[in-house]
């Protein structure tokens, strides 16, 4: 499991006498996420006797699986030192374009293609602004966050667009008893986790995020890496948008409204450092489960939404403090 994470601590531990393995494991932010996850499961089980049912937890996870899938790629973008807040709006616009196309009589495979291409194009536009024109990604993507959502509403209006019956119900497709969206999420986690931790490309992403100047002097083509990541995020958002359309059976402009915050929350809870250079897919993977466990546990216990929001806020703050503490210790 540790292979999925970063090994940033490698250099420091070489200078000093080697730390015992358990100690290196303990000071990883993913450990904190994992501990919170265990506490979450225990807490939720104590809150409601109906919580601890693996099928229910998996079914609940499918409700967030689309967002979680995008959060995995977003994690890589954040590690590379950028951010993209437009991903949830991208989900909505891609899904709306897809639904609009198939409603206009375009065959489904082509309509799906249109949705995916739209997602790529939106990622490309973000990349053009951020990498091409050197604009700060937080500003650019707040702009596209609003613009993509607005465009989706222009296309779909206030109505919902139906999708064909055979396309509905991705969340009811089971593979070995596990809902398909969850399987997709797990597989994507493994692939991206390997790319990030075990390939040169992955290494370069960390270096770009740690110090872009230094990385460029070392011959890393940082622009190319960032463009690739924005494109990948655009594509992942479109896939997530189509998955949402399949789950709901209809598409509206407000699909995944506010989802960008959940995505960032997942990355942060998983120990990804908001200024880049640090983080892991494993962390985001665990954090996605943590969020689902905590909110599902509170929902099935019929807790007030106000209480739920408070708990989630506190959780994030705890995670940020812990992450900062862990990273500052790891640097010594």
């Amino acid at each position: 499991m540790n292979a999925l994470g970063t090994s940033e601590t490698g250099a420091t531990s070489a200078a000093k006498p080697t730390r015992p393995g358990w100690q290196t494991a303990l000071i990883r932010p993913e450990t904190m996420t994992f501990v919170l996850l265990i506490i979450g499961v225990i807490g939720a089980s104590m809150l409601s006797p109906f919580f601890l049912d693996i099928n229910y937890i998996l079914r609940s996870f499918t409700l967030s699986a689309e967002i979680a899938l995008v959060a995995l790629v977003l994690t890589m973008v954040i590690i590379a030192g950028e951010i993209d807040l437009s991903a949830a709006s991208n989900m909505a616009l891609s899904a709306c374009l897809f639904a609009f196309a198939q409603q206009a009589g375009i065959p489904m495979p082509i309509a799906i293609g249109i949705g995916l291409l739209a997602g790529l194009a939106m990622g490309g536009f973000n990349a053009l602004m951020v990498v091409g024109l050197q604009l700060p990604s937080i500003i650019v993507t707040i702009g596209t966050l609003i613009a993509y959502r607005g465009l989706a509403q222009v296309i779909a209006g206030d109505k919902s667009i139906r999708v064909p019956d055979w396309f509905i119900g991705i969340n009811n497709q089971m593979i070995l008893g596990i809902p398909l969206p969850v399987v997709l999420f797990v597989l994507t986690s493994i692939v991206l986790g390997l790319v990030l931790s075990a390939t040169i490309y992955g290494r370069q992403i960390y270096q770009v995020g740690t110090n872009e100047m230094a990385a460029r002097h070392a011959g890393i083509r940082s622009k190319k890496i960032k463009v690739g990541l924005f494109l990948l995020l655009g594509l992942a958002s479109a896939v997530a948008g189509l998955m949402t359309a399949s789950r709901l059976g209809s598409v509206r402009y407000d699909i995944a409204l506010g989802g960008e915050l959940q995505m960032v929350l997942m990355a942060m809870l998983g120990g990804t450092y908001i200024f880049g250079g640090r983080g892991s897919i494993l962390g985001t993977f665990l954090a996605a489960w943590l969020l689902v466990i905590v909110s599902t546990g509170m929902t099935v216990a019929n807790l007030l939404p106000a209480v739920q929001l408070t708990v989630l806020g506190i959780l994030l703050i705890v995670a940020i403090i812990a992450t900062n503490f862990i990273y500052s210790r790891a640097q010594r």
Binding site: F50, L52, I54, D158, G169, S250, R252, L257
Partner: protein
């Protein structure tokens, strides 16, 4: 990961017996549109009192926001809790189709209360509406007309763009204004949406006043909207030029009626909807009421209730109009 599943399984076995025992009295849950909406307190009160009388267990839950998909995790949670009856004020006419189907598949009686799945009626068992909603639009237009001598520019301040019931009424208002010669001098200039949030509704109301200086009337067919609109009119002291009416709660509107800000508004008794829902649900579950079109049954305080087309029931025939003469007779 593995630990969690093992833990989950162990606990599920351990808890199996308590789950089965908890199902003795009939469990009813009502899912509102969103929290912080006093209208639903009143419906919930009807549920609660009826359950206290007829010996069932009742709980009210609602999501933090009224967007289309926010109720899905709550419905999943109620399925998991194994409730017998789900009453819901749907936030979307079709985004809930899939999850309501799985509730029905579990043998749960699904009732829409205070709003229906327009066009998707097969995804619930029956609907309980306060009045015949086809009359709501025309009634509101007539009340507005009587306040402004049937001429001038008017606007509508609604809930969310998706709200099925509000949209039905607005369509009927448009229809009445266009086709009934009595209202030919009334000109609907804008329909805006305050999302059933006080701040947003206030902003939208102020924007209406700024954009349409000749505005003489605003119809707000939602309790949050009418209170916000009245508040704006009251603080600006323009009650003589801009007339506000719509659907409001007597408890919230009493002060505006007393000081002349609003001369009249309409509503039904939301309380009776909850009252009827519980009587109907228990009747269907114990077999004394057949959920078939044309059936009639007696409900204490409401008289004879008939199941109309599409399994719809109304608690009263016409809207009640509240003004200075009768406002003190109502306490909900």
């Amino acid at each position: 990961m593995k630990n969690k599943i093992v833990l989950a399984m162990a606990a599920t076995f351990a808890l199996g017996s308590t789950v089965a025992m908890a199902q003795d009295p009939i469990q009813i849950v009502y899912i509102g549109k969103n929290t912080g909406n006093p209208y639903f307190d009143s419906i919930s009160g009807g549920f609660e009192d009826a359950c206290a009388e007829l010996n069932c267990e009742y709980q009210f839950v609602a999501p933090a926001t009224a967007e289309a998909t926010s109720q899905i995790p709550l419905i999943e949670a109620q399925i998991q809790r194994g409730v017998d009856v789900i009453g819901i004020a749907p936030n979307s006419p079709d985004a809930l189709n899939q999850v309501l189907d799985s509730a029905k598949a579990q043998g749960i009686l699904v009732l829409t209360v205070n709003g229906d799945l327009v066009g998707n009626e097969s995804h619930r068992d029956a609907t309980i509406l306060p009045v015949d909603f086809t009359k709501t639009g025309p009634n509101q237009v007539e009340l507005m007309g009587s306040m402004i001598d049937y001429k001038g520019e008017i606007a509508i301040l609604s809930a969310t763009t998706e709200a099925p019931d509000q949209n039905t009424w607005i369509a009927a208002m448009n229809d009445t204004l266009e086709n009934d010669p009595k209202y030919k001098d009334m000109n609907l200039v804008a329909t805006v949406y305050g999302d059933d949030q006080p701040e947003k509704s206030t902003t939208e109301m102020e924007a209406l006043l700024a954009n349409y200086p000749d505005l003489v009337g605003v119809i707000a067919p939602t309790t949050v909207g009418i209170a916000a609109a009245a508040q704006v009119v009251q603080s600006r002291g323009i009650a003589n030029t801009v007339h506000v009416t719509g659907l409001g709660l007597p408890s919230e509107m009493r002060d505006f009626i007393k000081d002349g800000t609003v001369s009249a508004f309409q509503l039904w008794s939301p309380y009776n909807e909850g009252w009827l829902a519980v009587h109907f649900a228990l009747g269907v579950l114990d077999g004394s009421i057949k959920n078939e079109v044309g059936e009639t049954f007696e409900v204490p305080n409401l008289g004879t209730i008939k199941i109309d087309e599409l399994n719809a029931m109304n608690t009263q025939a016409e809207l009640t109009t509240f003004d200075a003469s009768n406002i003190d007779d109502f306490d909900f």
